[in-house]
Amino acid sequence: MIPLNRVLMSSLLLFSLPSAHAAEGQKVFSQGGQNPAAMACMSCHGPDGLGMAAAGFPRLAGLSAGYLSKQLADFRSGSRKNPIMEPLAKALSDDEVSAVTAWLAAMPAPAAPDLHRQQMASDPTQALALYGDWSRQIPGCVQCHGPGGSGVGEHFPPLAHQPAAYLVAQLNAWRDGSRSNDPNQMMAGVAKAMSEDEVKAVAAYFANGATQGGK
């Protein structure tokens, strides 16, 4: 028999802890961290966390906490380069990172289109996104990033509704080696095999919700 007060206490803990965590996450997102150098996410990534397409600032809403934490850790260590994000990530405490990434992961984002494998490509861009090009060892984007670019698990972020300018910048960074924090160099190989025009086209395809050309 567990004493009632212990049951009460543990359930209080259960309910109070996550909400405090969420409140902290929301605060970091909208007002920034304790350290003033940890600026609010929303000032660049938008009040809805969906990024700023014109500036190429990425969508964060709905990305997995694991992926976001890894990126922040990589900005801290310098294994991912960005003049704005490196000092900012260093200014966030571990607790703040854990809180804000959980908050961002839970933020609503437009759903990836409900596409299935049976869909056939109707133009070369869609063919690259769905099937890849095996003569150059390029898997289809959706084979790892999920149907319609929905994102899969902790390691494969969504591509759908990510600003085109951001996707282009990242693919180009992998192509020229300035970004190299992908596990097992999975993206470097793919990006290097792509042409500049393909990078632009496939980025636009996912930014527009992976619907162009497809039915």
């Binding site: 494998r117 049976q118 490509a121 095996w134 060892q137 390029i138 149907p147 899969v152 097992n184 999975m186």
Partner: protein
């Protein structure tokens, strides 16, 4: 009395389910051309699909091939799609392409002195690789898949082994394979996509990355349960987009590690006995761990329902 009757009829039904004929009992390998032979065959492009009943059936076959679990749930007992083991929609050389398989059937197998048709080969895939119930040979599913394979093999010579067919053999390493080293390769190279416990990854109800063992993976009768076959597939196809990046030793080690885990029982199970099944179907079927004891545990007990 009533209860005994019920149990008896249940037992009968169960017994019958197990005694159901298996279209392609012999799952042993046909000879595969060596990897040194450069593949030259180019399957037709989707752009060339005719806008008529033939084109439509090819599209149906394609859809079934890449989205098998979702479109043919009656026949698929696990979480897999044909395209999981036949990369690039059955087009890629050294990934058991359909254009390499279709022209090789009907195939004669000396071991059981039997001729197997392409339809029976497909039924074998459903029974073992998909751990399911094979559609009838004249079903819309087998017909559409056969038409898709026939179309991919357009202009290929019949009865000639084309270079790029199957998964090329990878010579077994001189010192054998090692499960512990295999586990290390798995964690470093495979777990990111297939999960730390080989469980695969889903979006919604559907697997994006297939499970490699457990109840949603291929069963103990599938060709992929052979360590030599899995090593060949892995060496020439995995990690996705990086074929040939693992050494022969790594491919064998990780194939053995994957195939040392439990998966659904071999549907050819003889008298409920793993040992009898091993003797009849596994003892002379390449390199495999079915019915063997590793670390004091009998392998091949199946995952249950």
């Amino acid at each position: 009395m009533m209860k005994t009757l019920l149990i008896a009829s249940l037992a009968l039904a169960f017994g019958q389910a197990h005694a159901a004929p298996i279209a392609m009992e012999d799952q042993s390998q046909l000879k595969v051309p060596p990897a040194s032979k450069t593949p030259f065959f180019v399957p037709p492009s989707e752009k060339e699909l005719p806008d008529n009943a033939y084109g439509k059936m090819i599209r149906d076959g394609y859809a079934l091939f890449v989205d098998t679990k979702r479109l043919a749930p009656k026949y698929v007992g696990n979480g897999l799609n044909c395209s999981n083991c036949h990369i690039d929609q059955g087009r890629l050389a050294h990934s058991a392409p359909l254009w390499g398989a279709y022209p090789m059937y009907p195939a004669y197998r000396k071991k059981n002195d039997k001729v197997n048709t392409f339809a029976e080969r497909l039924q074998g895939c459903f029974q073992f690789s998909m751990n399911g119930t094979p559609p009838a040979a004249d079903s819309p599913e087998i017909t559409a898949l056969s038409v898709y394979a026939y179309w991919l093999a357009s202009k290929a010579p019949i009865g000639v082994e084309p270079a790029g067919r199957g998964y090329p053999d990878v010579n077994p390493p001189a010192g054998g394979y090692d499960l512990k080293r295999g586990a290390e390769v798995f964690q470093a190279q495979c777990a990111l996509c297939h999960g730390g416990n080989g469980e695969g990854q889903k979006v919604g109800a559907d697997y994006v990355m297939p499970p490699l063992w457990g109840k949603d993976s291929y069963n103990w009768g599938a060709g992929m349960h052979r360590i030599n076959t899995a090593a060949s597939f892995i060496k020439y196809n995995m990690p996705l987009g990086k074929p040939g990046s693992l050494s022969d030793q790594q491919a064998w080690d990780v194939a053995a590690f994957v195939n040392s885990h439990e998966r659904p029982q071999d549907p050819r199970l003889v008298d409920g006995s793993v040992e009898k099944t091993r003797v009849k179907f596994h003892a002379n079927d390449g390199v495999n761990l079915y019915g063997q004891t590793v670390g004091g545990v009998l392998i091949g007990q199946g995952t249950g329902k």
